[in-house]
């Protein structure tokens, strides 16, 4: 491959890597907002009709569940991105 060709190939590879990253971020942020602002606040009142042990469900999402969800999201993102880095061979040695 000549220099300019390799440059364009690298360019489009980088672009694909970035758009995949953006899709993963978007997915994670949808879950992030839905669980905390959605289930924990906007839908809390109807959810409180259900319960988890002695917790009304909306209350549980607001004071416990959303925090656990945040944790899972961050570790999921780290794991998924490390995999993506390897796929596109941009991982650190």
């Amino acid at each position: 491959m000549s220099e300019p060709q390799r440059d364009t190939a690298l360019q489009s590879q980088r672009q694909e890597y970035w758009s995949k990253n953006l899709r993963i971020i978007f997915g994670c942020l949808v879950v992030w907002a839905f669980v905390s602002l959605g289930l924990g606040i906007l839908l809390a009142e109807p959810l409180n009709a259900l319960s988890l042990g002695g917790y009304p469900l909306g209350f549980w999402f607001a004071q416990q569940g959303s925090i656990y969800t945040f944790l899972v999201l961050i570790f999921f993102y780290a794991w998924r991105m490390n995999k993506l880095d390897k796929e596109f061979e941009v991982d650190e040695e």
Binding site: I41, G54, Y55, Q63, S66, L71, D91
Partner: protein, 588 residues
Amino acid sequence: MSLQAMSFLVVGLTFALYIGIAIWARTASTSEFYVAGKGINPVANGMATAADWMSAASFISMAGLIAFLGYSGAAYLMGWTGGYVLMALLLAPYLRKFGKFTVPEFIGDRFYSKTARVIAVISLLVISITYVIGQMRGVGIAFSNLLNVPITIGLVSGMVVVFIYAVFGGMKGITYTQIAQYCVMIFAYTVPAVFIALQLTGNPIPQLALGSTAVGTDTFLLEALDNTLVDLGFAAYTSLSGMSQLNMFLLTLSLMIGTAGLPHVIVRFFTVPKIRDARKSAGWSLVFIAILYTTAPAVGAMAMWNFVNTVQPGEVGAETGNIQVDELPEWTERWQQTGLLVFEDKNNDGRIQYYNDQNEEFAAMAEEEWGWEGNEVTTLDRDIMVLANPGIAGLPNWVIALVAAGGIAAALSTAAGLLLAISSAISHDLLKGVWMPNISERGEMRAARISMAGAILLAGYLGLNPPGFAAEVVALAFGLAAASLFPVLMMGIFMKSMNKQGAIAGMLAGLISTLLYIFVFKGWFFIPGTNMLPDSADYWLFGINTGSFGAVGAGINFLVAYLVSRVTAGTPEHIKAMVEEVRVPRAA
């Protein structure tokens, strides 16, 4: 051993530990001073970040805040943890890849503008200085309330310890002391919580205990608490109260965005060796934070339960339902001496009534039927909810001493992180970046240490002579972080077309609109009486209170930046190339 002696012993031991670490972790280079040589293990950094993040407010005040707000207190729980998702996904890995020392440095380089860098420094200084006042105050209060030492002496000894490890150890010294402080803090927080959970529900895990039945009954703890509070004229614990749903939504969002934009937290992710460490480290930070943040709702609810049942052991309205003044338990005496808890037998019946006398209908009924003449717990400081916990649970003196050491550790660890952010903004961004670009590394090191010492003196002075607005600063710090720094950091990474003009206009618009909104309702520079509109829901724009405005300010920042960048010259090619580089982990 007396409580006093025990407390001094425990606090003294922790101080000796911090100083020992300081001697071991001296620094030699600016890289070590600013970012600990980028050599911190991601799990260790997570623990240090947790201590850096969890302030005196998290440790001492948050559970009490939740106890009084009930369900609505979740705005703080979700806001102060949800920001880590934003930081981990949108900022930390890219800023680490950029590989410099400070947050304003990224803004200055990315937007090829010293003006942008200086505006970022100003935001950073306002945020960090207002925040650090509360921490110094927290150190003094922990000393005075738990050790009976005057605030001045407590504060000065705290300053001396921070001075030793922050001035000599820089980020490296601060990181390792923060790890030690995290351990002290989390142990001090969870031990009383576990004992109280056991006493009330028989389940030692606070997170599960809050969803369990009260010992000896079939009623769930939260249900029983709801019923008792409603019987006393309050809102049910598990229902929205104290703020509208819109304000709870915006407050949560403002705290989330503000958390992600706090410079002293972001800079912690500059200290790990690799990009993948930065991603993982954010997760570990939240693990260590979540241990405290998921325990706090249990501590808050159980403290409220204990308090209400102490005052109202029998049926509400029954003649003998309330506790007699001379039968108040011993722990209440100690807190009455501090003035954080005040009883006043208004109707002279020799008993104490705690109920919601702001609820007019209920108050009228209580007076008519039972002869209650007003709420007789006239002061119930929210900080007691955590500080008095070991006493309420009847735990031994060493646990009370531990809580004192924990509160001090929480305040000192956050103060140190803030002080480092302040001093590096001065020595690295202003001095080296703008005024004296040719300064040598040794000269910069000396400047960094001198500005650190200056920042400690300033923080100590402000802690002793707090400006009248001390209580308002949290809203200010988070509102400004959300409205000024987070949006431009994010656009710097995710929008290649964002240019210098857009970033400067955006930061200024976010900063100024948020400050104005706060000042209009709280008074210019918080000077009492200078507010232009009364601080109540009738006057707020769309009913949004000042603490919830940060999310709106962030929106203004994004919008203005976008519009201005569309009508001004494009980003130079070398900046676009820089953004491309920041987006991939492997070094080019």
